[in-house]
Assembly symmetry: C2
Homo-oligomer: 110 residues x 2
DNA sequence: GACAAATATAACTATGTCGGCATATACTGA
DNA sequence: TCAGTATATGCCGACATAGTTATATTTGTC
């Protein structure tokens, strides 16, 4: 609720965070990790895309601090690093839902 | 708090919203509109970029439903359509802040 | 050490996006 | 109607990004 404008350099940081979350596959990965860590192999199976592609996106998520990486023996497990991610998604979902409802009403002029 | 996963097609919609908010200039425009409508000319002056560029980004914001457009005579006023935008930004800011603090602690091993 | 499995990286292509410039459109007033 | 102002659009070049394929790297097993 603080009314301070975003600090000057902060705009870029915030934009970067949003950009990381602006790819459907990355959102899907986050969603798959929501209830616990998963290996790259598991994620690849669940995403119907190539393993290199999954690795690349996981790296982006990790670099952005959204996900943590832990190696156990031969396999690597990724996990959510920041639960606020899901709050963001819920907020956006609600906003979109409301907008679509409003748009829909335009057509139901009884 | 609902624990339902995002509906299937929703991922793309959410990603699209995040993508719209992933450009510094667009965030800047939203910030400038936070306390009331502004004309394209005003926004252009405050953004140190070209007027066509501002118009283009405003169109993207409008198409995404983040901003409304109202024409009064010769000038066009844009305004925030969805206040939840700022909640998103604050959440991201807090998250980044916390992460940076954590990273900073690594260096202060007294 | 040799092999197999899991993950990461590199090189490439195709597509998307930003910003600038020129220009078109819309409105106002004389 | 003509000039002037405000905004939008089209085109272009530079650059970033997603996905694929091939390959490298790491780890565990024999």
């Amino acid at each position: 609720m603080a009314d301070r404008p975003l600090p000057d350099g902060a705009l870029d940081l915030v934009a970067t965070r949003f950009k990381i979350m602006s790819e459907p596959l990355r959102l899907r990965l986050l969603q798959l990790l929501q209830h616990g860590e998963r290996s790259v192999g598991e994620l690849t199976e669940l995403c119907s895309t190539s393993q290199p592609n999954v690795s690349k996106h996981l790296k982006i998520l990790q670099t952005g601090g959204l996900v943590t990486r832990q190696q156990k023996g031969n396999t690597v497990y990724y996990a959510i690093a920041d639960q606020s991610i899901f709050t963001l998604c819920e907020l956006v979902c609600s906003s979109i839902e409301e907008r679509l409802k409003t748009q829909a009403q335009v057509f139901s002029t009884t």
